[in-house]
Every structure is written in structure tokens, then in C-alpha cells.
Symmetry: D2
Subunit: 136 residues, 4 copies
């Protein structure tokens, strides 16, 4: 299991007139969380695109438990529970500063060869970084 | 069953450097689709907020089948399959101009009394409009 | 002088907790207005990118007179006051349904050859459409 | 003169298919920069809204010199050049990691009493923090 945490400050731009974070913006928070998870093992998403693999999201699931609000300093806890093959499954939990769970989300990415447009195995530069977290 | 359709032109702002609609923007498209579905039966979301009921989203699910692209004229087909109680379930399908299904989504809204902060039944102004579509 | 009008319905996603359209979203409205102005003379921005010219914005100016609000049906009046050379100057006025002027903006685009990265004259497919509006 | 700096990592959501930061997103970066400038002197924008003053933007000006790109770690340098009265003028410069100036912007905020809707002097909690930077 691989776990990563990052912090995101809610921007005014991300609120709506309900005074909450607009419901579509969690997808962006998860993107930041995934990218920071990769950076933690020395990788950037740019590396994948530069090496010819893109990783579009094929599935998003969001459960809105309590609203995040303007200027909240959120902690996004991101977990990869199984070793990726062609797909990478991310689990995200969003906490506020009082450590209250506000939101649970899941994103699934698929590795695509940018030339052929076909699914491929997760790039070895990532797989090799993740394996130690999944060895029993 | 209540079915509604609306059209949305993809904005440059909504694309990302993959050349696709950014994955978080479907949530906004679904918001537009829900609002236009309501407008079709003579209602606006403003009416609900003005009458003291807000309807935050409590669940979002998105399946990305094929990418929508810049300047695509999308058709969002929105279906309410069951008569709302405190929750309203929307099913969304996104088609491009060639009538290819690009995306399937679901959003669940809960009706909340703005004073008490507690769930309430779907406002009668909406329920009365929807009942004819669910009478057997 | 070339004048074009388009209508944009304010989305919930575009509001902020002040209950107004977030100030950065006018840039998106202007993008839609420019694109619809082009479409009115039979052109799409895609045509330019496909033919090797991109048109990034080099200048944006926004004067916020009165707030646009959720669900407002805005009219964006877009004017090109002078025949484009390498730059195209757009003037934008945003009106609400009561025909109150809410916002004035200007955007300047520069035509760039996508191969060389250098400024070029406005593509002839556009210039030829615009000339009739500027002949004295 | 009051100067503040903050860093912002460009999100994928903020790029467009040109591969650049979408031109409307600089407004959001400036919002973050203003908020972090306030935080540096112990204030939050929330304090102003909670105390009955809101500060909508009345003017935005953006000069796009070079594009910011995905994953760039931007430095936003924000300067207040004159002691605020009812208006606060912010000057923003955006640099990339190579310290290249990518963008220059200006935002003007006006202090509004939330009850009366009328302009008021900059709240004393802010004025008192800023005065030391403007004493000659």
C-alpha cells in the first residue's frame, strides 16, 4: 500500500454562492494529490507524457460528506491499494484542519501509449518505485 | 421517467493540454444539464434557493469513455428514473455531434432546508411537475 | 467596424461565495464571444490551429461595473474596431437581461505561426471576411 | 511599499490545449497572491467578510509576456505601491523557476460595506498593518 498526503488551500475561485467548494473542483484537488504523490517518489507526470505515455482518467467517484469552505487548509490523503497494471486506482480522502473527513473520492487512470492510442502497462519508472510498497 | 436534453459547446477554457475536456469539467456540464432540465418544466434552481431549499450534490460518478474535444457541440441527455424523495438521482449521457456516447455520469442531490440544515422532501413545486412523468 | 453578439447563461460553477460571477470568469466569457464572432463569419478557431496559426491572448483588461449573478442570461457584445494586422483587438461589453451594462473588457490576440513561433499577419481566411466591415 | 511573494504550482486543470496556462487563470493566481500577502501581515480575507467588508475586484489588467506551462512552479511577486484608501491597488509579477518574467498584472479592489453596499475606507485592521510600509 502506498500512501501520500498533500495540503491544498481552498481558493475563492473554487467556492460557489452556496459558500462551499464547488462540487466539480474536487477532481482538481485529486489531480494535485496524484501529482504530489508521484513527486514524492521522484516522478512527475510530465515525465510520463515526455516518454510517450499519457494517463487520462477513466473513472471518477466522489462522495460529498461535508462541505469544504473558503480558505480551509485541506489535507488530501491519497492511497494506492494495489500494484498498478494498465490501470492505476487512487483513493482520496479530504480532511479539514480539525481533521474531519469531508470527502471521499476515487480516480482511475489508464496508461495509454500516445502513438498507438492503446492501453499499455504502467511505465516501469513508476512500477519500480511502487513495487517496494506492495511486497509482502 | 423524465428525460431532458441540452446542448453545450466545449470552451477552450475547458480543455487541457491533452487536447481533451479536463475531467473535472463534466461536473459543470451536468450542473448545466440539471438546470436546463428544471427550466424545461418551468422551474429554476434560484426558485429553490429563494424558497429556502438548497440542493447540494452528495454523490458524483463519472465514466470517461471517449474524450470530448474543443468546440464539440455536446448533447447532454439527462434522465430522472425515479420520483424524488429527499434525494434526486440524475443520470447523464454525453454525446458528440456524430451521436457517439462519450461519457456517462450520475449525480445525486439532497434537498436541505437552509435554516435547519436538515434534509427535507423535494419541494412540492418540483414534485408536482415531475409526478406526471412517473404515473403508471 | 465588426460587431457580434452572443448570449451566455451564468453557471453555478462560475459564481463565488460573494454570490457574484468570479472575476476571472469574464475571460472565459470573452473567449466564447470571440469564437462566436468568428463563427458568425463562417470561421472556427479550430481552422486557425489546424492551418498552423495559433492566437494566444497577449493582453486582457476588465472593468467590473456591476456584478453578474447566477442564472443571468448575459449578452456579450463584441466589437472589432480596426482591421487586424498581426494583432486583433476585441472590445467586449456584458449586459444583463435588463440591458444594464455590467462589464467592459478588452482582449488582444496575436497571430503566431505554430512552427516558427513568430508573429504573422492575421490569416487571409479571416482578413477576407473582415475587410468588407472596414471599407469606407 | 509593501512586497510579498508566494509560489503556485501550475495544475493540469489550468492548462489548455495550447499547452499553456489558460489566460483567465492568472486572475485566480492573483487572488491567491493577494490572500497570501494579507496572511503575511496576520490577516485573512475571511476576517474582512466576517467584519462586514467585502472587497470585490473592480479592475483587472493582464499582460501575457511568455506562457506559463504545466507543473511550472511560479513565483508571484505582489506589490502595494500606495497606501490604500477605499481602493487597494495590487501589482503582480509572475516568474518561472528560471526567474523569467512571464506575466504582469494589476488588480484593483474596492472596500464595500456589506450592509449598505457603499464604498468605505480600507478596514483599520489592514490599514494599521500597512502603514509602517508607507511611512517615509
Amino acid at each position: 500500500m502506498f500512501v501520500s498526503e498533500c495540503q491544498i488551500r481552498v481558493r475563492y475561485a473554487e467556492t460557489d454562492q452556496m459558500g462551499y467548494v464547488y462540487y466539480g473542483n474536487y477532481a482538481t484537488y485529486f489531480e494535485v494529490a496524484r501529482v504530489e504523490a508521484l513527486r514524492q517518489v521522484g516522478l512527475t507526470y510530465k515525465m510520463f507524457e515526455d516518454s510517450g505515455t499519457m494517463m487520462p482518467v477513466v473513472h471518477l467517484n466522489c462522495k460529498y460528506k461535508k462541505p469544504a469552505k473558503y480558505d480551509d487548509l485541506l489535507t488530501i490523503k491519497t492511497t494506492i491499494r494495489e500494484m498498478p497494471s494498465t490501470r492505476i486506482f487512487f483513493y482520496h480522502e479530504v480532511y479539514n484542519e480539525a481533521n474531519v473527513l469531508l470527502h471521499e473520492g476515487e480516480t482511475t487512470l489508464v496508461c495509454i501509449d500516445m502513438k498507438s492510442g492503446r492501453p499499455v502497462l504502467c511505465p516501469e519508472i513508476l512500477a519500480s518505485q511502487l513495487r517496494p510498497f506492495f511486497n509482502s
